[in-house]
Symmetry: C2
Subunit: 499 residues, 2 copies
């Protein structure tokens, strides 16, 4: 009975999530420029209401009774109870006023970021970002001081990692990322030397209209199983997947001079969307039915983009669609497109980076945010740290270029601190999952070349999508691939594709 | 202190309203076709949460204490307290389960209506509409049995009228509408005879592209003071004004073969929007700061559309904009457009009706819904009653044509029963307000011919928009025009424009 009451409470929370998800999507895609203030208030109030529900004094008893009779529950219900408990404990640890202040600060900072980034204005941006980081530190400290024992946190940053990617911790990230930083710069060097001996790929001949790009995107999304009767594609400043499981909202950022980038960005978001819409519908509106953390989420988008869509087989298979929409430009031949999609070249912008240099963009952000949260650096240090790391990892000078430096991402201004590591953990998960898929479905490459993707989606569905939050991300990887996350599959993937 | 606590509670309710308003707008404008089920759940849960907040046991004491010290409050605060009390009392009268059932039923019925209307399928639509009417009757009975004394209800239908247009009652509506039905059919006959002696207006030469219509609409909206940095125009199946005061969302239904209709529909919605965005910003998020009922709301849209935009002066003044977008077709000359915009002709569709026959469309709907709520007729009788009334009032046969008959409007399927009278009360209010404006600003017509509309908006702002819900609609009209609502200004307006 207590368990059922908890389910009812979390049903309400799921509906508040629905409202917040849609209001946030609208804010980024549809909302008029000057309507941000009332929107911020509404989003903040919804957050506070969710917090109040979780912090309600009756919850203690409900959990107490439900946990006593947990053995009578089915396995998925036990997992649901665990997820509900985690949400409750986290909410108890963070004062309501802090939640509200965080939402408002992120709302202000993210909104201002849109114009300050355009004008390269770090100076006016910094105090807003300072507030966001201060509140995030305060939250991390609150979580760590309350939940260290229960969740095994060893430092404040662990608490933030855990919010985005449950079970991940600084020690694990440090260890995996150290393996990457010891290999990637050298690997990148060898790949670039190899590629310099080959002819450079042709660049497309002139711009491609937004409407044409959208049509091509929609056709490719359809091939990838996106259902437009329960989802949309729109334009936004930053590509993202929003909405809810039954109403998936993808965005892409269309540059008429870069259709090539847009295709992959759309495929990436489609991976996120398939995961969300593929979640177990029997567990709708229940925490166990939610996606399992961002490193698994990112593994799905990167499975679609990196493992599948940048393969020769896929690029050849979708070529008729590409030519249909973009015309017979030799730059759009599958050989040339494959060459474009596998060029390795250090660059300033994370979202445009190739998959070999991408982890270095992530690692530099991780190192900065980690050090700020742990009190070793301040927000004012960011431009200098950024430049140093770009120099060290990618041999690039970013001095004074904030717009293409520390102001390029939406994550920090929107309060998503502790999120960046998920991208590279996701890339590693994706490579490891892909190896497991090939063992399970040896003809996967043939299926891809025929665009018969159902067996691949079926494998992902059974092993990842339908599992929701039943297992920790560690156990999910263990069950799907036979071992916990290892760096070597990703490294092997890069070597085999690029060397 | 109790008063301040009530304000805080109603601030939360305003944020829930923000969420519901935006989710509803999205549902009608952006949402994918099959995502209605989860959206319905979210909207229902937000309603239930609002109801729970209002029904909370602590409210009784808060109101008790606040009302004891009401004399220490400023006038606007006293009005705010009255509005808060009305909302509280109405919420107490309606059980939470009924609120939830109503939202879900309306959501299902409205969603189904979109396809059943297209396929003229009354049979499958009727049971869904039956549920909506049943729940509405149940609500009306609950409100009437609890609040009859406090609000002066004499019957169940009074309680529904009061929800949309506070203070209106069946006796008042019956009396005003009887004056109209005694005059309009004869007046319409005389006008048609006069118009038949004149040459018919030219019809536009071919279709006008959606994108052109949208550009023209946006230009006219700008002339009317619509601010696109706090609002949007989009397409929807049914024109409406949604959103919130700081983020106004207008829709229009664009038919490439009917640009003429679209122009006026857009002007109409712009009137609604100016009222909402012109509300007193000092009273934001407070019930006293909300728009005062639908007959005042509709008076603003009809002031814009009927009193202002269908005048010769306005049509001439915007003609350069019209010609700029639509080209030199003689049908778009101001003389011809004025002739089109003042043609009187009985027709099937309310939203396309001219201002002389429009009230008859409203009165037939009013009579049907009144009789169903009072238990004198059933939902199954609607098609027959509809046909009888169309015959009697407009000499039209609608047998079997449900799509252009009882299924043409979104109101009933969406649960808005008791709403229709507001349209015609609004038309009467608009005519009376226009007379008062001319007394206060004798050069109003000159201003309109120069498109110098600021003095007109200023008068509306001071007399209506900024007043919010400070006064009852009766007192609002009394202060603005010197008398309560009379039918004669509307009749005089029709005679002077059409005879």
């Amino acid at each position: 009975m207590s368990y059922q009451q908890l389910e009812k409470t979390f049903y309400r929370l799921a509906q508040l999530d629905h409202a917040s998800a849609m209001l946030s999507w609208d804010q980024q895609v549809m909302m008029p420029t000057k309507s941000n203030e009332p929107r911020g208030r509404a989003l903040a109030e919804l957050s506070v209401m969710a917090t109040e529900i979780l912090q309600h004094e009756a919850m203690e008893d409900l959990f107490g009774v439900a946990e006593q009779s947990a053995t009578t529950l089915e396995t998925w219900q036990q997992a649901n109870l665990r997820e509900m408990r985690n949400a409750w404990k986290s909410a108890l640890a963070v004062p309501k006023a802090l939640v509200e202040a965080e939402v408002m600060a992120a709302n202000d900072c993210e909104h201002a970021w849109r114009s300050y980034r355009n004008s390269n204005n770090w100076q006016d941006f910094q105090p807003l970002l300072q507030t966001v980081f201060d509140l995030s530190r305060e939250k991390a400290q609150a979580l760590n001081s309350t939940l260290a024992t229960e969740r095994g946190y060893l430092n404040d940053y662990d608490a933030l990692l855990d919010l985005f990617d449950p079970g991940t911790n600084l020690a694990k990230v440090d260890s995996l990322f150290t393996q990457l930083t010891s290999i990637l710069p050298g690997l990148q060097q060898s790949i670039m030397e190899k590629q310099q001996r080959q002819p450079a790929p042709l660049q497309p001949n002139g711009p491609v209209r937004r409407s044409t790009q959208l049509k091509l995107s929609r056709d490719i999304m359809t091939v990838l199983g996106f259902d437009f009767s329960t989802g949309r594609l729109d334009e936004a400043l930053h590509p993202f997947t929003g909405g809810v499981s039954g109403d998936s909202r993808i965005t892409s950022r269309i540059d008429e001079n870069n259709v090539v980038e847009n295709i992959m960005a759309t495929i990436h978001e489609t991976g996120h969307s398939r995961y969300e819409t593929g979640l177990n519908q029997d567990w709708r509106f229940k925490p166990v039915g939610r996606a399992m953390g961002m490193s698994i989420h990112e593994s799905q988008s990167l499975f679609f983009e990196m493992q599948m869509a940048r393969s020769k087989a896929f690029i050849q298979a979708v070529n008729p669609l590409v030519v249909k929409h973009l015309g017979p430009d030799p730059a759009f031949s599958s050989t040339n497109l494959h060459s474009i999609y596998t060029q390795v070249q250090p660059s300033l912008i994370r979202v445009n980076a190739d998959e070999v240099t991408y982890p270095l963009h992530v690692i530099l952000r991780f190192e900065i945010e980690r050090d700020i949260i742990l009190g070793k650096k301040s927000v004012a240090d960011i431009p200098e740290c950024w430049d140093e790391a770009m120099n060290k990892y990618l041999d690039l000078d970013t001095r004074g270029n904030h717009r293409d430096g520390a102001m390029q991402d939406i994550h920090w201004p929107s309060g998503a601190i502790g999120y960046f590591p998920s991208y590279t953990l996701g890339a590693m998960n994706a490579a490891q999952l892909h190896q497991a898929l090939i063992r399970a479905v040896p003809q996967a490459a043939d299926h891809i070349s025929q665009l018969e993707l159902a067996p691949i989606f079926e494998w992902l569905s059974v092993n990842i999508w339908e599992k929701g939050s039943l297992l920790s991300s560690e156990d999910l990887m263990l069950e799907a691939t036979g071992e916990t996350l290892q760096a070597r599959y990703f490294i092997e993937h890069l070597r085999s594709r690029y060397l």
